[in-house]
């Protein structure tokens, strides 16, 4: 088990390197950088006084070096103007737009991003698990049809639109403001139970909105898996021997069907993270989403590169967790490597 985990961790390192390179490459795709854009803007307005300062800044952030060197400096594999000072050394870069270190800009939002994605994953599993079992054991019942229909609609509705519609409904029918992290009256107030409750209430809608599409997909997956298992011989045998239906279900077919269900976290997490970004923009949640959008629009490269890398790492960690869970649940996976040798 420990060996499996160790290998799994080591395998992440090259992936991380590739991802960080890809991220940096994509961010650097647009011509120029934040400061050279500023310079050309200043030149256009005829102002030349601060150009020297900006030129100094360009050198300061190594923006005048070739691409590969800039990447290596950013990661911290190559000495920059201040020696080794990159991601590996804990320096996340500088946000030109906010004129503060990236750490300070995104710091407060990281926790909420992780929190809301975790909540969405939990939501997906807690909702799709019972519904999937219900749909499979009572195939072609009204409930099954109803959930299938709901699932299809959940799949078809883009989550940011769902967010908009829900906000509209809550606003018009229930007179609730569900945008933002908390009721406006608590902003700036010290933490209290009421404030915490308000935050919780405001988390519910985004969680549902982010999780809907994933839930729909999961219900379909679990239903199909379980249906496959339910028609197998061993189920018939157990039933013939007089096993109670509920015990039979939990003991055998469910355990088999659970496997792909957990392995699916790999597909689920990227879509959830994608969803959380756009939903946060729509619902005005203080996650990394809105910051990423504004950073991309103003070409604030270190900030957007860091956020992109962060969400990618978030999905990688999610997959790691799913693999570890799978290894715990299924001895075939944990021992699989050994057998093949």
């Amino acid at each position: 088990m420990i060996k499996y985990l160790g290998l799994r961790f080591l395998g992440m390192i090259p992936t991380l390197l590739v991802i960080s390179f890809l991220t940096f490459f994509i961010i650097e795709l647009p011509e120029g950088d934040y400061i050279s854009n500023q310079i050309s803007m200043l030149k256009a307005t005829g102002e030349t006084a601060s150009i020297a300062k900006l030129d100094f800044l360009r050198r300061e952030f190594a923006l005048d070096r070739p691409f590969l060197e800039r990447y290596a400096i950013w990661v911290g594999l190559w000495p920059g103007p201040h020696g080794f000072d990159g991601l590996l050394q804990g320096n996340w870069g500088w946000s030109f737009e906010f004129d503060r270190p990236v750490e300070e800009v995104v710091g407060p939002t990281l926790l909420l991003t992780v929190l809301i994605n975790t909540a969405a994953i939990l939501f997906v599993y807690l909702v799709s698990f019972p519904i999937g079992i219900y749909s499979a054991t009572r195939q072609y019942s009204w409930g099954d049809y109803g959930f299938t229909l709901l699932g299809y609609i959940g799949l078809a509705t883009p989550n940011f639109l769902l967010g908009l519609v829900l906000m509209y409904v809550a606003n018009v029918w229930f007179d609730l403001s569900i945008g933002g992290l908390m009721d406006p009256k608590y902003i700036g107030e010290p933490w209290s139970i009421d404030k915490a409750l308000s935050v919780l209430a405001h988390m519910i809608v985004p969680t549902i909105v982010i999780g809907t599409a994933g839930t729909a997909a999961m219900i379909r997956r679990l239903r199909a898996n379980l249906l496959d298992e339910l028609h197998k011989q061993y189920v018939v045998t157990a039933r013939a021997k007089g096993m109670r239906e509920s015990a039979l279900l939990v003991k055998y077919p469910l355990r088999m069907a659970l496997n792909p269900f957990i392995a699916d976290i790999g597909n689920l997490i990227p879509t959830l993270v994608s969803g959380s970004i756009i939903v946060s923009v729509v619902l005005n949640l203080p996650t990394v989403g809105p910051i990423l959008l504004s950073a991309l629009q103003s070409q604030d490269q270190f900030l957007s590169a860091f956020i992109l890398l962060f969400v990618s790492i978030l999905t990688l960690i999610g997959m790691l967790v799913s693999d570890v869970l799978l290894a715990f649940l299924d001895p075939r996976i944990r021992l699989g490597g050994r057998e093949r040798k």
Binding site: I19, P30, P158, V165, N171, G266, P270, V273, L296
Partner: protein, 391 residues
């Protein structure tokens, strides 16, 4: 034929019938079976697909929607960027048939605009005395059909000096219904072009990995794994933010399709690879190898036909994600921009919740999006079931 037994045992006469043998005489096939066994693979698929009622109707709906692509100018009563300064944020005009109990045919009541200075918004009153009968197959707003044939023919036009806003107007008085019709042009084709790009990439890379195996396979596999673990939307956002602002809408459109297609291929490549791996072991493929056929010929002549149907099915399942991707990007101001009109661009107006609360019809483009995505999903399900006709 003699069946009599002779007294003395003799060698029985060896009997050979000289008549031509008709194999069907042993096992008669009904006409139904005959038709089935003689039909080509694609014909059987079509039969099987036809039985999937939901998929069939989805296909019909999609065809109707795609008719907007070539004929947008004719279907839409207005041009998408035509401003009507007297009708800013006009609400949808319902189509009536009876005026005060009297049959008039399809018509709309006139709208009277008033400014509500207390709340700083436009208020419209339905003027019941003004009946504006709709005209059909009529001459209306002039336009250039496909951009170069001047014409005036419309399916439906408002009455003379009247208005016809089926789903209302936006902040500049642009008709939303016309916007949706024109928007279908970009929103619906972006999925098709994107899927063509992603399919070619998927077939090429998946084919290479599946056919050659070895180092190429494991390299491509790793790339696929990494690509699949990345969240799509932030990458799309970053890439489309990289499109130069100076580009014309046409170039932005093509740039977007390439971006959407570039990140979508891993799923398809994976399907191609696993299918190729299993087909490669089939006897007919082995025979072709033994006879010295070139890889290119084996892949295109022997292996590809074996899973084209699967490819089409999985492609139709990934078109919706591209349509949604474009919508999301345009909604966030990162994709298409005016004067280009797509459903996402139209939804851009609905970004502000306070605006949406007052003018909820701005969310109308959601409805065609949901219908199209649902239809593609059902169609894909039907195609997937039909893709294995011999099962």
């Amino acid at each position: 034929m003699s069946n009599e037994r002779h007294e003395t045992p003799q060698e029985p006469e060896h009997y050979v019938n000289n008549d031509p043998f008709d194999p069907t005489s042993v096992e008669r096939l009904t006409e139904e079976q005959e038709r089935y066994f003689l039909a080509s693979q694609w014909k059987i698929m079509w039969w099987k697909f036809r039985r999937h009622r939901l998929a069939k109707w989805s296909a019909v709906i999609l065809i109707l929607f795609y008719l907007c692509v070539p004929f947008a100018e004719v279907i839409a009563p207005y041009k998408p960027s035509q401003r009507q300064s007297n009708f800013l944020y006009a609400p949808p005009q319902a189509v009536h048939l009876f005026d005060g109990g009297k049959w008039v045919g399809p018509f709309v009541y006139g709208l009277k605009a008033q400014v509500d200075l207390a709340q700083m918004r436009w208020v419209y009153e339905v003027d019941k005395s003004e009946v504006q009968p709709l005209r059909f197959l009529c001459k209306g707003e002039p336009y250039d059909f496909w951009g170069f044939i001047p014409a005036r023919f419309h399916l439906v036009c408002p009455a003379k000096d009247g208005t016809f806003f089926l789903v209302g107007t936006d902040r500049l008085g642009r008709d939303l219904f016309s916007g949706i019709i024109y928007g279908a042009r970009l929103s619906l084709t972006i999925g098709i072009i994107g899927i063509i790009i992603s399919m070619s990439l998927g077939i090429l890379l998946g084919g290479l990995a599946g056919y050659f195996g070895g180092i190429i396979d494991s390299l491509i596999q790793r790339v696929i794994e990494i690509m699949r673990s990345l969240p799509e939307l932030p990458l799309w956002m970053a890439l489309s933010a990289a499109l130069p602002v100076t580009w014309s809408p046409v170039w932005i459109y093509f740039g977007l399709t390439i971006i959407l297609g570039l990140l979508d291929w891993p799923g398809l490549a994976r399907a191609v690879r696993s299918k190729l791996l299993s087909l490669r072991e089939e006897e007919y493929a082995q025979a072709a190898v033994m006879m010295g056929a070139k890889p290119r010929r084996i892949i295109t002549k022997h292996l590809l036909p074996g899973f084209t149907s699967h490819l089409i099915a999985s492609a139709s399942l990934s078109i919706p994600s591209m349509i949604l991707g474009e919508t999301a990007l345009s909604f966030l101001n990162l994709g298409l921009r005016r004067p280009a009109v797509s459903w996402g661009v139209l939804l851009n107006e609905a970004q502000n919740i306070s605006v949406v609360t007052i003018y909820p019809w701005l969310m109308a483009p959601v409805i065609p999006i949901i219908i199209v995505v649902l239809a593609f999903n059902f169609l894909g399900d039907g195609l997937r079931d039909a893709a294995d006709p011999y099962k």
